[in-house]
């Protein structure tokens, strides 16, 4: 099935985040504000390593050093990825002593999930209606074919 890995990963991340969505409506009211930020979100999610980092942080917080090791990367390389995720609001970092700890920035993920879900609902409704109609057309064609044979 031709599906970008973005949606696969988004769905798995979404299932973690779903419980956090308490008021989708208020999120929608903030649509104007978050649409601009969504562009950064989607750009951040377009990279396989960064999606991996999000999944990792979904399991537990980690330092940049931990993440660099896990993804076989240099510290500098991982810092860049984390910085992009941070700018998109997907990750927050906090420096304690000499260690920078990364954790999921859940708020942004909620909005991301709400955006996808909203459009999926609209198109689901539309395509459910199309599905129904297609079934009717199929039945009609079958009936007509049977009549002809008689």
């Amino acid at each position: 099935m031709p599906r970008a890995s973005l949606s696969l990963r988004t769905i798995s991340i979404r299932s973690v985040v779903r419980l956090q969505i308490t008021d989708a409506r208020s999120t929608v009211n903030h649509m104007v504000h978050y649409q601009a930020r969504l562009d950064a979100t989607f750009a951040a999610l377009s990279d396989v390593t960064r999606r991996g980092v999000l999944e990792q942080l979904g399991a537990s917080d980690a330092s940049i050093t931990d993440l660099a090791e896990k993804f076989h990367m240099t510290l500098t390389g991982m810092k860049k990825h984390v910085s992009i995720l941070e700018q998109a609001g997907l990750v927050t970092t906090e420096k304690v002593g000499r260690t920078r700890t990364c954790k999921l920035g859940l708020r942004r993920l909620e909005e991301e999930a709400a955006w996808i879900e909203k459009h999926r609902q609209l198109w689901s409704a539309r395509f459910d209606a199309l599905d129904e109609l297609v079934e009717q057309l199929k039945r009609k064609e079958k009936t007509n074919a049977q009549r002809k044979r008689r």
């Binding site: 099935m1 609209l122 198109w123 395509f127 109609l133």
Partner: protein, 166 residues
């Protein structure tokens, strides 16, 4: 990671929405019918209008003209109790390949989208891919914000309507 078995079982009735880039989004769904039937539902005005706008939105169709051939034009006019004026959607079909591909260009403004719909038949089923590309990301954001507003709570009604009609 998603379970592959689960994926294939759920694939039939699942509508997948993806935002491919700043300018475009894609919706896919598989229908349990040959491509010519699914195509028919997209290309005959009297059929198209039966599913394109969920009835629960409260819009009514004033007129629907679809000259479905390459270079032909379309014009759909809807009215809604909340609007003073009816709303018109119009543009040109850039490509019409029966049972395979439909491309149309919205011409309501210079920010109009190009929509490509493909029908891929496999084993009596049709994978439908709806792809919409906007000239700017602002145009996409605006279009999606408009189309998604106030709909979800109406879907229960739509389900009832479809169940009653079958």
């Amino acid at each position: 990671m998603p379970n592959a078995k689960e994926d294939s079982a759920a694939v039939m009735n699942r509508t997948v929405v993806e935002r491919k880039s700043d300018f475009e989004f894609v919706v896919t769904r598989t229908f349990n019918a040959p491509a010519r039937i699914v195509f028919e539902a997209w290309s005959k005005p009297e059929l198209f209008t039966r599913w394109w706008i969920p009835k629960s939105v409260g819009m009514s169709l004033v007129s629907c003209d679809m000259d479905i051939r390459t270079g032909g034009t379309y014009r759909l006019v809807f009215s809604h109790p909340d609007f003073d004026q009816p709303m018109a959607f119009f543009g040109t079909y850039k490509e019409v390949t029966p049972h395979k591909r439909l491309v149309w260009m919205n011409e309501e403004s210079d920010q109009g989208a190009v929509t490509t719909v493909t029908f891929e038949e496999n084993d009596g089923k049709t994978l439908l891919t709806f792809h919409e590309r906007y000239p700017t990301k602002e145009a996409l954001d605006e279009a999606l914000a408009g189309s998604a507003e106030g709909l979800p709570e109406q879907f229960a009604q739509l389900d009832e309507l479809l169940a009653a009609g079958s």
